[in-house]
Amino acid sequence: MTDESVTVYSVYMNRHSWISLSQSDPRALYLQVIEQIQRRVAVGDLPPGTELPSIRQLAADLSVSVITIKRAYLELEREGTITTRQGKGSVVADRPGLQSSMAQRELDEHMNQAARLGILLGLSKSEMQRRIAEAYEKSQRKRK
């Protein structure tokens, strides 16, 4: 089972190399789709007005369920990254990412989880702040 899961998406990935899904990533597949589309939009690979493949087309290209892609598109639409017109398909929105509520919510969840673990380990509030600052600087260095 485990060794199969690694190969699952590698075989047919080349059809749509701009999205690659991983089953070893514990996050739900739809979140991976959202994140990768957001990133492509953020770096300018998908400028405003770019047509996205239809839900069924992308599901077929990635060999994942229609419901997964549908959910991803719905969330992207809700947070303003894409707009969907009945019968015309989805395009990248004019001013994407104005409020990326999705990512905000995810951050809140991670923060709550971190706080819970911190309390479990008996860390003080200032110790937690120090650790978050440290993690922040580390990630910033990596990005450069």
Binding site: S65, V66, I67, T68
Partner: protein, 307 residues
């Protein structure tokens, strides 16, 4: 149900079973109610002998149920109308091919019976599945035989595909080729797939709705996200005197000293708070894989039967 299927992917049912029962000497299929919406991929998961194949044979009109009704593409399953059968494709491992004949012979044979046969698509599938038309059936590996059978079904371009364990015994590459091809067919939203497997991972990957079957019963049926979002596992520290709060669907799975493992099948975001308010300390809260959800559902179902 999650909001994603609302409005549903397809409003019209491609297939439905109502109160279907069938009794054999050592096996009972009981009160099966299922509906498969047009344009969806639907997975049936169950252990061997759970009744998946019997359900599919009944849908194909190969087995007559003792009670209940079945409609396929709007017509009764038992109907001999060839037009209905023409639009339905069925795959089962025990389908026989002529060992001494070639794949090309079988393609020719099926084409002569089904006017909707798509020769160009058949050629494409040969190529994509890595099959050689001139090869004889007896020389094929298990995986090649399965792919040849699927080719013969898919190239008929059926509106409804009933596939009984199509990935059984396939290596990871062949399996991925098959799953990918199935997803290609539902690019056309008029097409519907019902698909059985005991590999929960295949089902999790491509299915929109999932039905768990165990011991002749449907023990759970929901859309994919309904299962994955609805279930959650918690690890808690709680003293021996701790009484779990009354939360619908919350169940104790195991305890080791002060450590308790609980699962819930109707998760809401406030469950963690409720658990902590009851005097337990939450150590972890994690999502479950479809396999874990399936196992937990089977265990719960069997316990309820015993009561």
């Amino acid at each position: 149900m999650s909001a994603v299927l609302d409005p549903p992917l397809g409003a019209i049912a491609a297939a439905s079973l109502r109160g279907v029962s069938k009794t054999y000497r050592h096996f009972h299929l009981r009160d099966i109610d299922l509906e498969f919406a047009t344009g969806t991929v639907n997975g049936l998961i169950g252990p061997n002998g759970a009744g998946k194949s019997t359900i599919m044979r009944i849908m194909m009109g190969l087995v007559r149920p003792d009670r209940g009704t079945v409609a396929m593409l709007g017509r009764p399953a038992s109907s001999s109308e060839s037009s209905a059968k023409r639009e339905i494709g069925y795959f089962s491992e025990d389908m026989r091919l002529y060992k001494a004949e070639t794949i090309a012979f079988h393609m020719q044979f099926v084409r002569s019976l089904f006017p909707d046969w798509d020769e160009r698509y058949a050629e494409e599938l040969l190529d994509r599945f890595g099959l050689i038309a001139k090869q004889k059936i007896k020389g094929l590996s298990q995986g090649q035989r399965v792919k040849a059978l699927l080719l013969l079904v898919l190239a008929r371009r059926p509106k409804l595909l009933i596939l009984d364990e199509p990935t059984n015994g396939l290596d990871p590459v062949a399996k991925q080729e098959v799953l990918s091809e199935l997803m290609q067919t539902v690019k056309d939203e008029a097409r519907t797939i019902v698909y059985s497997s005991h590999h929960t991972q295949d089902i999790e990957q491509i299915c929109d709705t999932i039905t768990f079957v165990d011991r002749g019963r449907v023990i759970a049926s929901d859309d994919r996200d309904g299962f994955l979002n609805g279930w959650r596992r918690f690890r808690l520290q709680a003293p021996g005197s701790w009484v779990p709060p009354q939360i619908a669907g919350l169940r104790a799975e195991a305890s080791f000293g002060n450590l308790r493992v609980m699962t819930i099948d109707r998760y809401r975001p406030d469950v963690e708070e409720q658990l902590e308010a009851s005097g337990a300390t939450l150590e972890g809260s994690e999502a479950m894989t479809l396999e874990e959800i399936f196992l937990a559902t089977v265990t719960r179902g069997r316990e309820e039967c015993r009561r």
